[in-house]
Each structure stands twice: as structure tokens, then as C-alpha cells.
């Protein structure tokens, strides 16, 4: 009664949106930092890819192609990279992009020390502007994947940033380095520019009319990133066609409902994230390679990939299949009871399994991991191995894996690459220097493997480097420090009826999608047809 009354009082005003035309809206979780020296999570990376330009650009096939830099040279000692910049590129302010801006962007990133700075900090020694259109990077040591890393160096308009610094900051003459202003404004040259950013609510960006590349006529004129992942809200917006792409954090029921909605499809994009069961290689009984292999042969990978994480695929080795440098021929453990028994028989713990129960920790914040833990527990019991399943909050996990004596036998953890290349994964997962972080609870201290990794990373020629990566993957699989469970896709519902989303179409055809986080949401590559949207709305 109350509702009806107010309903009449407020009138049946139309709820139709005044919003135009060629817009792509998507949801994601806050916070989003559009400052290139701060943001590095998913929503920040999507925003940065669209607001800023980089020297080089990642393609869907995992290659690196010229972008702001038209060409480059590498010195013989592989320590100096010289980039020749495209002329006439304009920032959103109207100023021309020059070598000085590149130098400023790198120096600012390193000085602030957040965002993607961790990729460059150990590698970059100095950056100089040789002339207006030539910039030179000097590295501390040869770093093969440098070009792959450079897709995370977003170029800022130096003058624009300097005009907006707050004097009393922690960076001396640079004040706050423009951090406050860049929270809600951009100083980029990218295809889109910030129209309005409301913290915790949305980021609204429009096409940059003076962009140096031509837009397709059907490319979005604007995009809006809405800061919510509430299922009921996202679902409603999809139904009202007020949302073109959902976030990937929704429950399975959401995607089921979306698949039934006319004109909507669900895209499964593999982003390079792999789900591991990491095994402590210094603690009994997982210090024994035969024991570890017995586990690798007994786990039911298919159940994990099909039932627990539908749409996932069993991982092949330690590097996601989507990453450049993945070894497609590396041995893949599959469930085989006979082999598991054989391996276990060779283990020094075979006769006293009851004395060596194994602790398996799963992360309390990811409920689905418990199902995997219970499955491994049940699988292991088939060959007489006792597994204790332990639920632990993430902060506590990070604390306990810092020391070998407090690290449990096994952890279930998702790991993503820092830059889209096999080297990132190999180094952060298996180089001895990363032991004690959540990315490597295996405590692998193998000098030979370290040498192989360092040598590979220092190899500048892509082909040669990838050959070395493949050998490393074979070596790691033989060592079996982890169970390589699944490559995890991100699921997105999207309005297939009026949106051409190249990443989704590629995924549907079984082709690779962009391995660099954020670039599958590169708006320039999308096409949107408002008249088809109208048709859909009319039908209802």
C-alpha cells in the first residue's frame, strides 16, 4: 500500500537513460588507481591501458610491437636500449609527447616505488633523453624480457603533472609528485581521457579526438567503469542493457542466468593465472621427490578443472599456456593410480606413511579452495597418505611462509605473472631468492636451477630465451616441487548482440587472448552498435 502510494506520488517517470550511443560500460571492484605510479591491480590496469600510451604495445598473440616508439636499438652488451619516438603524438593537454616525458615517467615511477615499479626497480639504472625524440635506458644487468616489461611504463605529460603538484609532499622539489591530482585526473596521451571520476562510484572516459591513431567508426565513443561487483546489481544492469561487460568475480549461478539472457554470452578469458599446490621441498615427507610425484599422479585434475572450477583447464607445467615462452611439449602429470603407487614405493617414507601426515593449507578467503583441498585429501588417502586440511586467512599465510620452519607442507595458491612472459612466472615461482614469499612456499634452493633462470632472463634474443625457458620448465616438472593444478579463466558476461569484443571472439575460436592484464579491455578494439541495443530493448 505504502509502495503503491509513493509510486503514484513519484509518478511513472521514465527511467530511460539519457546516455548515448556508443558506450561500453563494465563493472569491477574498487579501489581503482589511475595514477600509473600507484595502480597495478585489475581495474587499475584496464584504466591505465585506455588512458595512457606506452613505448611498445602487447598484441593478442603475445608479441610486442612498436607503439609510441617506432623503432629501437639494443647495444651489444645488452645494457642500453635506445628508443626512437613517434613525432606529433599529443597528450590530452594538447602538448606534444617528447623524450623528456618518458624520462619523467620512469623517474616518477621509481621514486614513488608503488604500482608496477617493482618490475623496473631491480633492472633500470638510468633513463636519459638523447634529443626530443630519442630516449635511452641503461640497465643494471641484461634483462631479456625488458620489452615485455615496458608495456607497464605509462607515459605522463610532465608539464601537466608539474602544474598540479602539491608543494608539501614527500618528494622534495616535486612535492607530492602530482599524486593527489592524478587520483582522479589523467595526464596521458591514450585513446581515451577522463571525463569524470567519482571515487568508489565510477570512472567515465571519452575518446581523445586528437589521438594519433584512427578510431574505427564503431569503436566506443566513451567507456564507463562502474565500481560494483554486487551480483544483484550487475545482473539487473545486464538485463536492462545498461552494462555491456560484467566483472569476472561473479558466482557460477550468475553466469548460468546470463547465458539464458537473450543476446548475452559468457566469455572465458585465460589471463595467465595458474593454481598451484605448492610443496615444501625441505620438510618431510614432501622433501622426497618420489613422494611429491606420487601426489602428482594421484590428484584428479579433471575433477578440479571440470567440477570445482568449471571452464578451467589442467595446467601444463609451471607456466600458463597463454604466456609467451610456455613449453607446449612439457610433461603433464595425469591421474594414474599405478604410477602413483610406483613412485610412492620408491620414496624413503613409503614404509612409515602413518608417521608423516601432510598438512595442506587453503586460503580462507577463497571458499572453492576447500573443495580442492578435500579432493586432494581423498585422492591421497587412496595410496595411504594422510592429508590434514587446514583453513588459514591470507594475512596469516603470508606470515607463516616467511620462514621454512613455520611453512606447512602444502599450500593451495593462485599465482599470476608480473609481466606477460614465462620468465616472470619462472623467476617468481622457482628462483631461490623468491623463497619465503607467498609466491614460493616450496623453499626451492637449487643452485643449478637458479643459474639456468638467471641465464635465461639475461638472454635478449626472444627465440633463444624461449628455448631456455622450455628447458627450465622440463627441469621443474621433473623436480615436481608443485602440483600444477589448473589454468584459471576469468568469466565475463557480455552483450554479444550489440558488442563486438575481440578478446571474447578469439577465446570462443580457441585462440589466445591478450596475456597482459587489462589489455583485453582495450576499448579501441571493441565495436558497439547502439541501434542493435535499441532493437533488443524494443523487443521486450
Amino acid at each position: 500500500m505504502v509502495l503503491v502510494t509513493l509510486f503514484l506520488v513519484l509518478g511513472v517517470g521514465s527511467g530511460a537513460l539519457a546516455e548515448s550511443q556508443k558506450i561500453v560500460r563494465f563493472t569491477e571492484a574498487w579501489p581503482t588507481y589511475i595514477d600509473p605510479a600507484i595502480g597495478n591491480d585489475f581495474s587499475s590496469s584496464v584504466s591505465l591501458a585506455n588512458l595512457y600510451d606506452t613505448l611498445v604495445f602487447p598484441t593478442y598473440d603475445g608479441e610486442i610491437v612498436p607503439h609510441l616508439a617506432t623503432s629501437w636499438e639494443v647495444s651489444d652488451d645488452h645494457l642500453t636500449y635506445t628508443f626512437y619516438l613517434r613525432q606529433g603524438v599529443k597528450f590530452h593537454s594538447g602538448r606534444e609527447l617528447k623524450a623528456d616525458d618518458v624520462v619523467f615517467s620512469m623517474e616518477r615511477l621509481l621514486a614513488i616505488g608503488q604500482g608496477y615499479s617493482y618490475i623496473f626497480k631491480p633492472v633500470v639504472d638510468k633513463v636519459e633523453a638523447v634529443d626530443d625524440y630519442t630516449v635511452r635506458f641503461t640497465l643494471k644487468e641484461p634483462f631479456g624480457p625488458f620489452l615485455y616489461a615496458l608495456v607497464r611504463l605509462y607515459i605522463l605529460d610532465k608539464e601537466e603533472v608539474l602544474a598540479h603538484i602539491e608543494k608539501n609532499g614527500e618528494y622534495g622539489e616535486y612535492g607530492d609528485y602530482g599524486k593527489k591530482w592524478l587520483l582522479t585526473n589523467d595526464a596521458g596521451s591514450g585513446p581515451y581521457m577522463v571525463k569524470e571520476m567519482k571515487l568508489e562510484e565510477y570512472l567515465h572516459a571519452v575518446r581523445f579526438p586528437d589521438y594519433w591513431k584512427q578510431f574505427d567508426a564503431d569503436a566506443p565513443q566513451e567507456f564507463k567503469f562502474i565500481g560494483t561487483t554486487e551480483t544483484a546489481t550487475v545482473r539487473t544492469l545486464m538485463k536492462k542493457r545498461e552494462l555491456e561487460i560484467s566483472d569476472f568475480r561473479q558466482p557460477a549461478e550468475f553466469y548460468e542466468a546470463m547465458e539464458k539472457l537473450e543476446g548475452v554470452k559468457v566469455a572465458k578469458l585465460f589471463g595467465g593465472s595458474t593454481f598451484y599446490c605448492m610443496m615444501h621441498t625441505q620438510k618431510p615427507p614432501t622433501d622426497d621427490v618420489h613422494f611429491r610425484k606420487a601426489l602428482a599422479y594421484i590428484v584428479d585434475y579433471e575433477a578440479i578443472a571440470k567440477q570445482i572450477f568449471p571452464g578451467a583447464r589442467q595446467a601444463q607445467g609451471p607456466v600458463s599456456f597463454i604466456l609467451p615462452g610456455h613449453n607446449p611439449d612439457v610433461y603433464q602429470y595425469t591421474r594414474n593410480l599405478e604410477k602413483a603407487k610406483e613412485e610412492l614405493a620408491q620414496s624413503k617414507y613409503a614404509q612409515e606413511l602413518d608417521k608423516y601426515p601432510v598438512d595442506l593449507v587453503w586460503c580462507a578467503e577463497v571458499p572453492d579452495e576447500e573443495k580442492v583441498a578435500l579432493l586432494i585429501q581423498s585422492n591421497a588417502s587412496e595410496i595411504g597418505i594422510t592429508v590434514n586440511v587446514i583453513k588459514t586467512p591470507w594475512m596469516k599465510i603470508m606470515e607463516e611462509v616467511a620462514k621454512p620452519e613455520t611453512t606447512a607442507n602444502m599450500y593451495l595458491i593462485f599465482v599470476s605473472p608480473h609481466y606477460a612472459e614465462a620468465g616472470s612466472m619462472i623467476q617468481s615461482k622457482y628462483h631461490s631468492s623468491s623463497a619465503g614469499t607467498w609466491e614460493q612456499t616450496e623453499w626451492l634452493q637449487d643452485p643449478e636451477l637458479d643459474k639456468m633462470i638467471e641465464d635465461a632472463i639475461a638472454t635478449v634474443n626472444d627465440e633463444e630465451r624461449f628455448v631456455k625457458y622450455r628447458q627450465i620448465q622440463d627441469y621443474v616438472v621433473e623436480l615436481c616441487p608443485s602440483l600444477f593444478l589448473i589454468d584459471q579463466p576469468e568469466n565475463y558476461a557480455y552483450q554479444d548482440a550489440y558488442l563486438d569484443w575481440i578478446a571474447a571472439e578469439r577465446a570462443e575460436r580457441g585462440e589466445k587472448v591478450n596475456p597482459v592484464m587489462g589489455y583485453n579491455h582495450y576499448m579501441v578494439d571493441m565495436k558497439v552498435y547502439p541501434e542493435k541495443r535499441e532493437e533488443l530493448l524494443q523487443k521486450k
Partner: protein, 307 residues
């Protein structure tokens, strides 16, 4: 800990040390407290690690959205709560009273976020009458900021289109938030009216031949709303604190949602500020309610004056 919560797991050691020094975490706890007291006295609540801006700015931005929502819900709650209460009292023990009673139990027992989800699905998916997210339709001119309350600002500056739009955006979250309190008001109004109806002075007024309308307005209604108003104050204040899930569902950029976000991220300075602001709002609202009750109930004024 601070490294993971504030700067991300891979921030450089220098950045972490700089932050520790800036927050005085390298000093003993009592010194930290003195630093904090000093800044608060100067109106500086520090910087939020979540939004990376001064907390004061965050509060300034997010509080009006929540206040506007709570005010809308409060007005809705008062208006319809009283109306339903009076209706039930006047038709006590008839089918109308029974219906209101059933609705009330349902309304009080249903949490606001469940109502919100139902309203969102019904009005968002099937009857697209009300907008479902945000405070204003994109493209509608935002009125110049005076109070931060969009409805008020748009009225003051003559942006009537924006006023209408903001009001429509308020409807679903406002109603979801108010239903629990609304039915509680209705119940209290009903019982206190029925109780007062039996009082001698009401019978006396009727016996003197005072018209029924005057009896109702002056002798029955006025004293009967006193308990309702007292409860209303408490309800209104808790609306502000409890709006979290409703704000989340309707993507409403309010202080309540901000409060939960900063709590989940252990953003201490922002938590302190949010708790203080909510405390102040709670106190102010209760003072206003006390003054209102004093106005409605002459006995309180007389006692206060010692008469």
C-alpha cells in the same frame, strides 16, 4: 602488514619506510597517539590508505550522500509510519488493523538488504520505473554544490530536472532502508494512540462536546507521537550506520559503504574519522529529538524550568 594493506604486496622497501615514517609508526605508541591528537585538533584526520586522500575530504564527499539517503528514508519512515499507525488505531481490531499488523511483522523482520534486493530485481528488471544505481543519471547537469545533498542543491539553484532525477534515484534505496523503521513506528503509534484514547482527559474533552477532529489532533495525536519521535531519533541515527548493504547494492557513494571498505582494509585513520562522524551525527540527532519531545510534551519543559 602496512605494506600489504596500503601499498600493495610488491611496493619497494623505500616506499614502505617512507610511509612508516610519515605515519610515525617508527615511534612508540603513546607518541603516535600524541601526534594523532595534535592533528585532529587541527582538523586533520590523516590520509586514507584506501582512497589515498585526506580523510576529511573523503568524509566531506561521502557524508552528504548518506545523509541525503537517511533523510529521505527518515521522512518516508515518519510520514508513512505515522499514517499507518493512525490508520490501525482508528480501525483497531478490524481487517485493516490486522493487515497492517501482518505487514509490520514482515517489515520489521526483513533486513533492509533483502528488501533492497527484491526492489532492485522487481523495479530494475521487470518494471523499469526507477533507476537502480548511483545518485544521478549520467548526462543530467549536476547542481552546484552547496550542501552536497543533490535534491536540496538542485532546488536551491533551480535545477528542477536534476531534482526530479535525484529524487527518483533516492526512491529504491530510501524505501529499502526505511521499511524496518517504518513499521516499527506504525506499531508504536498505534499502541500509544489506543492507550491514550482511554485516558480521562480525552473522555473529558469528548464529554465537553469538543469536535472529534480537535480531540484527535490536540488531545490524542500530539501526546501519542512522543514515544514515536523518541524512537524515530534512534532509528534515524542507526539508518546512517546501517546503510552499508543498501549503499553497496545501489552503488550509492555514501559514508556507510566507505566505512566498511576502510574497515576491511584496516585503514585506521579513516576508521577513526568515520566512527567519530557517526558518533557526532548520532548525538546531534538525539539532541534534536529531545528538543522536539520537549516541544511536544509540556511536562518536560515545566520540569526543566523547575515549575
Amino acid at each position: 602488514m602496512i605494506r600489504h594493506a596500503a601499498l600493495g604486496p610488491r611496493a619497494s622497501q623505500e616506499a614502505v619506510e617512507a610511509l612508516r615514517a610519515r605515519l610515525h609508526l617508527d615511534k612508540p605508541i603513546y607518541i603516535q597517539y600524541l601526534y594523532w591528537l595534535k592533528s585532529v585538533a587541527q582538523g586533520d584526520f590523516g590520509e586514507s590508505l584506501f582512497t589515498r586522500r585526506p580523510v576529511v575530504e573523503d568524509v566531506k564527499e561521502f557524508l552528504p550522500a548518506t545523509l541525503e539517503l537517511a533523510l529521505f528514508a527518515g521522512v518516508f519512515m515518519t510520514l508513512f509510519g505515522l499514517l499507518l499507525g493512525i490508520l490501525s488505531a482508528r480501525h483497531a481490531n478490524t481487517w485493516i488493523d490486522d493487515l497492517v499488523r501482518v505487514l509490520s511483522y514482515l517489515g520489521i523482520a526483513t533486513p533492509a538488504f533483502v528488501v533492497a534486493i527484491v526492489l532492485l530485481l522487481v523495479f530494475g528488471m521487470y518494471y523499469e520505473i526507477f533507476p537502480t544505481i548511483g545518485r544521478l543519471t549520467p548526462g543530467v547537469t549536476v547542481p552546484p554544490r552547496i550542501t552536497g545533498l543533490l535534491t536540496l542543491d538542485s532546488l536551491l539553484t533551480g535545477h528542477f530536472h536534476a531534482f526530479w532525477d535525484a529524487l527518483k534515484h533516492l526512491f529504491l534505496p530510501g524505501v529499502s532502508l526505511s521499511l524496518g523503521g517504518l513499521f516499527q513506528e506504525a506499531r508504536i503509534t498505534r499502541s500509544s494512540m489506543l492507550e491514550n484514547a482511554k485516558k480521562d482527559y480525552v473522555s473529558a474533552a469528548r464529554a465537553y462536546g469538543v469536535p472529534e477532529r480537535v480531540v484527535f489532533a490536540r488531545y490524542l495525536f500530539k501526546p501519542s507521537v512522543i514515544p514515536t519521535v523518541s524512537i524515530l531519533g534512534l532509528d534515524f541515527a542507526s539508518l546512517i550506520g546501517n546503510a552499508f548493504l543498501v549503499e553497496l547494492l545501489f552503488n550509492w557513494p555514501g559514508l556507510s559503504r566507505y566505512g566498511i571498505n576502510v574497515m576491511l582494509r584496516k585503514d585506521v585513520e579513516a576508521i577513526v574519522a568515520v566512527v567519530m562522524v557517526l558518533g557526532i551525527v548520532f548525538t546531534v540527532v538525539n539532541i534534536i529529538v529531545d528538543l522536539l519531545v520537549a516541544y511536544l510534551d509540556p511536562r518536560i519543559r515545566l520540569v526543566a524550568r523547575g515549575e
